[in-house]
């Protein structure tokens, strides 16, 4: 047993709550270690002192007067703080009552300007809403350009633009194609010549389609129909590779 372990157990040891074996070990250590023996002695003294029933010696001669003094001191320290809080609340209440309690005294021209302003804003909002609604309804429009708000949000990274969505989707599709391509490449050596040629011919056909669509999208990134067709062609390529990899 080392000193640290011994000192951890000293308190329990003094309470006679230690197991017999541990207690013997502690005793052995205390017999050879002067430092721990001193600690043990100090602990024992504290315990003895606490066990003595001498609390009566510590009762002050006039406890009532003492409590009165303490009470006065506390009150003198707390009262100014309470008073300050009350003053701040009154100030706040005063400002609000000024805003809400005052009567609105507006001239005719002010009222007219306000009404016209509200009407104008309402008209603009209605026009924007109707425009967006009709755009949503026509699912087949080829070039649905993003709104200015969408562009701004896209630039600051708060909204993913259709181009970003497309890029991510194509990346995923390319990864899938890469996977099936490897699997097909491993199997194609076993196919007969006709099957190999047919596979290459069809893959080439799809690749040409993908190339054409990519070219169109480079020129016109907002062409939704081409985007849709590109998605479809890439999915067809995945299907072709997957199905031939089973052979």
């Amino acid at each position: 047993m080392n000193c640290e372990e011994c000192q951890q157990l000293i308190s329990v040891y003094l309470d006679n709550e230690l197991e017999k074996e541990s207690s013997i070990q502690v005793q052995k250590h205390l017999a050879v270690c002067a430092a721990c023996a001193k600690v043990c002695q100090d602990f024992a003294m504290i315990l003895d002192f606490c066990l003595l029933d001498e609390t009566a010696d510590f009762v002050p001669p006039n406890s009532k007067a003492l409590w009165c003094r303490i009470n006065n001191i506390i009150e003198t320290e707390i009262k100014p703080e309470i008073a300050q809080e009350n003053t701040e609340e009154q100030i706040k209440k005063g400002r609000l009552s000024k805003v809400w309690g005052n009567r609105w005294q507006l001239s005719f021209s002010q009222v007219l300007t306000s009404v016209l302003g509200i009407a104008l804003v309402s008209c603009l909002l209605t026009v924007v809403a109707v425009k967006n609604y009709s755009a949503d309804n026509d699912n087949f429009t080829a070039n649905a350009a993003p709104t200015i708000l969408e562009k701004v949000l896209g630039k600051i990274g708060l909204k993913t633009t259709p181009e970003q969505v497309r890029e991510n989707r194509i990346k995923e599709q390319q990864a899938t194609i890469e996977y099936w391509n490897k699997r097909t490449a491993a199997r194609r050596a076993d196919w007969d010549k006709n099957l190999r040629e047919a596979f290459d011919r069809n893959l080439n056909e799809i690749d040409q389609v993908v190339f054409e669509y990519n070219k169109i999208l480079q020129e016109n990134p907002q062409d939704e129909l081409t985007d849709e067709m590109l998605d479809s062609a890439l999915n067809e390529k995945v299907e072709l590779l997957r199905e031939f990899s089973e052979l």
Partner: protein
Amino acid sequence: MNFPNYNVMNVKLKKWVGFLAPQKTTIFLLSVVFFFVSAPAEVFAQKRFSKSYPASKNVRLQLTNRTGTVTVEGWDKSEVQISAYMEAPAANMQPQSLSGTIYINLVKDNQGRGEVGNVNFTIRVPFDSSVDIETRMGNLNVSNVRGGLVRAHISSEGDIVLTNIFASAVSAENVIGDIFFDGDIQREGNYRFTSTRGNINVRIPFTSSFRLVATAPSTRSISLGSLANSGLRFVSEGRRVIGQIGDGSATLTVTNQRGSISFIRR
């Protein structure tokens, strides 16, 4: 220049012919035997498979072929009759009939085998059957079927011909090849025809009700026939036709990446 002496050569040739004359019959017989020994590689290697299954009316046929032509015909019998001609090297085939569905999967049954010959199927099914057939390469023909589903899928190239089809869900897709559909459009049905290069011809009654989306982005060749005056409109610079005929309860989607689309009155 020295020319060969043909007289001497003729005499030598006659001697050889005279020597061979008694053996003519033997040579002839040997050649016949050789022919029959070598010919089976091409002629006799074609195996025939034939099997029939009793079937309820709404049986489902699910066939996956590797290469070859598949012909499925509806008939007025409660029986599914499968005939297959297997070219050499002959494919393994283990059809299964499980709870109203007949499964034939030649891709699974021959997985890992190198060369497998074409398998040409002729299958007869009850009229009310559902047919789901696919092949990696080859033609698919389905006729006289009015079950819930008709699906014909070619992974690569081949033509699809669907005639006299009255199913509520029809799908036909290939990469290179033509697609021809001749059938009815059922209420709330779903019809989808997709190709990358080929011609898609759809022959339907023009009194049908459906919502149409036909897309031919490369060729812009969409021939509406009599449907032209039915409220359909070209959008996206003529690459797509959309619109509704009647109450538009069914959905008809036709996509041909690099080919034409034609609608024909039935």
